[in-house]
Every structure is written in C-alpha cells, then in structure tokens.
C-alpha cells in the first residue's frame, strides 16, 4: 500500500545530509564540549559551528543563540525567564489565544506565580489584530508573546506590526517561530522581536534540540540551573549530535528555502482547492493566503477528526486532527474554538502538513481515498442524518 506521510507539523524525517553530519558525533567524536582536552575541543568546535549555522538562518549573531532540548523548552525558557527577569518592573503578560500549549501553559504557570495574564483574541482566520494587542497593554505589562505562525491552521501572524507596538511601549516581545524557522524566511531584525524559539524537528533536523534566540542585552533567568554551559544560561551537557544536526538542517533550509516553498505551496494549493470540490461541506481553516506553505487544514462537517485520521491511516496516510498530537485532550482544538468555529465543526478538524518528499501522486491518492471515508463516516453520523432529514442543502 502507498505510504503517504502528511504530518510534517508533528515532526519531520531527518534529511540524509543531516544524519550524515550527526553520525561522527554518535561515534568517535563523542566528547563533552565543556572539557578542555582534544575530545572536548572537537565537540566544542562542532557546537560552535552549529551555532553559526542557526544564527545565519535567522540573521542573528552566533552568541545570541542558546541551544535547548526542544521547542517546548525554548518557549518555557522565554516566557518564564523573561517574566522572572522583569518582575520588578511589572507582572502583566499578554499572549494570543492561539499560542502553542508550551507558551499558553507557561503563561498559566506565571499566573500561579502571581503574574496576571491577558489572552488576545483572533479573528476567524486566526489572525491577531495588532490593535487588540495595543488595547490590552497596561502600565505593568512586561511581556507579549505571539507566535509567528500557527502550525495547526497555518496562519502567519503580523509580527512586525506587533513588535512595533511593543517597542514603542518598551515591552519585551517573544515569538514562537517553531512552525516557521527553517520553513519560511525568519529574520530577527526584520521581525523586531526580542526572543524567538525554533526547533530542529520542524525542518528535517533532529528531535531533542531547539534554540532560543535572545537579542543581545536582553536579560533572561535560566530555566535549567547548573553548569555554565551556553554562557551560563542553559545548564546541562550539550546534546552534541542533535545540535550538529540542527546546524546542518539550518544550513540546508537556508539554501533550499525558495525551492522548498515553491514545491510545498503547489501541493498545498492543490489540496486547498481540490478537496472542497471532492467533498461537500468542507471548510478550509486558517488564512486563505497568508499561511504556511505546507499547511492544508480543514474541518469536515458532521464527522469527527480522529475517526478520519484512523481510516486514513488504514490506507497508509498519516495526518493529524486538530491538536490531537500534542494534546490528546478529547476536546476540540483551542485554536479552532478561538477562531469562532462551533464545537461540532471544530471536532471535524483534519490537518495535512506537507513535506519535501511529498509528490503530486500523494495528493492524488489522498483525494481518492478520503471522499469514501468521509462518506462512510457520515453514513453513521447522527449529525449528518439530522442534516439530510432537514433537507439537504436547505440550510
């Protein structure tokens, strides 16, 4: 059976070049970068090269890059570390309603620590209105966090505009670029933010490694205390092979980005236009144009996402429904609800995230296998029964 992986937002495979770059560090070059002997020297050199590569990807200085263990860690580090460093100035934090759980629940933890939190709403496309951010700023606001793009609906946020507002008000601005760094152009100077997270496994690099970029001069309290690794800002023996892989993936992403975007956009647009033609009552979620090149997200009326996912899997197709992969909460995605979708519709979420290996034939295959699955599930759906009884199309 054809195997079609369309869940690249959950994690991407390693590019062969990335794996090759990592292998020596799983072998002979196993040293600890903090050590002063030759084994340490080789490891340190590798880590510093990777730091340069990651810095180049986002137009930053190498010394501004702090390696972490995941996108989640980078976001926890930023939200908690910046808030704690600023608490003498104020205790109010503003984040968007569609943030990844690693930002959202870090902000919830800040509430437990005595901070106040404001969630900024989004429009029906999942876009944060910069004026909404401005309206929610207070004298004691010390931190704003809005993600660069939402992985679930693909919407790209107006970071530059929000950054202009935070800068005017002397407030730090973190952006979670886990879904964008390595995928679309991300330049910290153009974005105008103060800190930015990214993760290796989002652009054909390894799991177990992320980075936080911290603008020079911005104070942040460590999340991990201990040794003086990463300039004393992130303790713990560095995950050298993964860092090397992240560096290599960053280099490849920087070089191949235009070609990748073109390829993914083509496949994405096929899904976005052809799927609603093949299946009635399907809505595209997220912004129609201003969205991630590899993201085609939908809600299918009258049926539930996981059951589609399971059926597709039986046909060799891997997808995600809503935020199923990170939440496994049984509730509808907080992102879709924040965009104003009714619960029943939000339950029917299905998310295709394309990767470099995908082809037109993969799209053809999905367009062929999905409609009968939807049919079958609708045949057993009480909601669909009500709809047809009420006079199909009469709505």
């Amino acid at each position: 059976m054809r195997q079609v992986y369309l869940d690249n937002a959950a994690t991407t495979p390693l590019l062969p070049e990335v794996r090759e770059a990592m292998l020596p560090y799983l072998g002979e070059l196993f040293g600890n970068p903090s050590c002063l002997h030759s084994w340490g020297d080789a490891a340190r050199e590798a880590v510093e090269r990777a730091r340069e590569q990651v810095a180049q990807l986002i137009g930053a200085e190498a010394e501004e890059i702090i390696f972490t263990g995941s996108g989640t860690e980078s976001n926890n580090f930023a939200i908690k570390g910046l808030a704690l460093a600023q608490q003498a100035k104020g205790k109010h934090v503003v984040v968007s309603a569609v943030e990844h759980f690693s930002v959202l629940y870090s902000a919830r933890t800040l509430e437990k620590w005595g901070f106040e939190l404001t969630l900024v709403p989004v429009d029906k496309y999942g876009v944060v209105d910069p004026d909404e951010v401005r309206r929610n700023l207070r004298k004691d606001t010390i931190l704003v966090s809005v993600m660069h793009a939402n992985a679930e609906v693909g919407t790209i946020e107006p970071i530059e505009e929000i950054a202009r507002i935070t800068r005017e008000n002397g407030i730090l601005f973190h952006t979670d670029a886990v879904a964008t760094a390595g995928t679309i152009p991300v330049k910290v100077k153009e974005l105008g933010v103060d800190t930015l997270s990214l993760a290796g496994n989002q652009f054909y690099g390894p799991k177990g490694v992320g980075a936080l970029w911290v603008r020079k001069g911005v104070r942040i309290i460590p999340l991990l205390d201990g040794g003086v690794q990463e300039g004393g800002r992130r303790a713990g023996t560095e995950n050298v092979p993964a860092i090397v892989g992240l560096g290599k993936a960053a280099e490849l992403a920087r070089m191949d980005m235009p070609a990748r975007i073109k390829h993914l956009t083509h496949l994405r647009d096929r899904l976005l236009t052809e799927l609603p033609r093949k299946i009635e009552r399907v809505v595209v979620t997220g912004h129609p144009q201003n969205r991630l090149p590899g993201n085609a997200s939908f809600c299918v009326e009258f049926i539930e996402g996981e059951s589609m996912l399971m059926w597709l899997n039986s046909q060799g197709v891997a997808v995600t429904s809503g935020s199923a992969c990170t939440s496994r909460a049984l509730k509808a995605s907080h992102v879709l609800l924040a965009m104003g979708l009714p619960h029943a519709l939000a339950q029917g979420s299905i998310l295709f995230t394309l990767g470099l290996d995908n082809t037109d034939e993969d799209i053809d295959y999905v367009l062929e296998v999905l409609p009968p699955i939807v049919d079958r599930l609708r045949q057993m759906s009480p909601l669909y029964a009500k709809f047809t009884k009420a006079g199909k199309g009469g709505k």
Binding site: E304, M310, L330, P382, L383
Partner: protein, 129 residues
C-alpha cells in the same frame, strides 16, 4: 504500538448494526459536540427482548467501536440483561481501551440504557405492546 486493540479497530472499521430503525420502540441519545462524542441508539423490543439494536455515532474511533460492541452485546438480550452491560464489560470485550477513551464505554452503555428507558416510559404511557 497502536493505541487501539485489534478488536477495537475491527469494530471501528467494520461496525456492526450501524443505522436507524424505522419506528423504533426506543431511542437513546447521549453526548454532544462539546464533549466530542454523540451516540444515538435505536431499539426494537419483542417479548422483553432486544430484537434489534442499531446506532448512529459521531465520534472518535473508540466511540464508534464502543457503539458497535454495545449493539452486538445487547442484541437478543432481555431488557434486564441489557441493563447489566457495564462500561467495564464493554471495554473488556473490546480487549481494552486507552485510559483517556474509557469514557466512551460509559457513553455506549448510557445510550443503550436511555433507549430502554425511552421504551419503558412509552410503554407505561401508551400501554402499546
């Protein structure tokens, strides 16, 4: 390691007794789109036995498999026997359910029970059958 047992997958992909019963003796609806799962059970009763059981379900793989399993377990049973189909029994028959899906087996048993309630209340009122 799939999250669902083979039995769950079988009932999910080949659900038994899907559909509606015309002029059912009882209908039981549970759940709502907010909680994520909705089940409607239809029953036909003859001589105090569940002659026919059908369902429609909106929900995850577990919800569909549970509905199918409950319908299969219920069919042919007396009303009293059918009441004894507990969520645990359903989960056991399905060779287990993931922890966070256990509530689905609750829903299945509830929907059946509600359909029986519906039948009994109609019978008491109308004296039909």
């Amino acid at each position: 390691m799939p999250i669902y047992s083979e039995k769950v997958m079988d009932h999910f992909m080949n659900p038994r007794n899907v559909g509606e019963i015309e002029n059912p003796d009882g209908i039981g609806e549970v759940g709502n789109p907010v909680c994520g799962d909705m089940m409607t059970f239809y029953i036909k009763v003859k001589d105090n036995r569940l002659e026919d059981v059908k369902f429609k379900t909106f929900g995850c793989g577990a919800a569909i498999a549970v509905s199918s399993m409950v319908s299969e377990m219920a069919k042919g049973k007396t009303l009293e026997e059918a009441r004894k189909i507990t969520p645990q029994l359903v989960a056991d028959e399905l060779e287990g359910l993931p922890k966070n899906k256990f509530h689905c087996s609750n829903l299945g048993a509830q929907a059946l029970s509600k359909a029986i309630d519906d039948y009994l209340s109609k019978k008491n009122k109308g004296g039909k059958k």
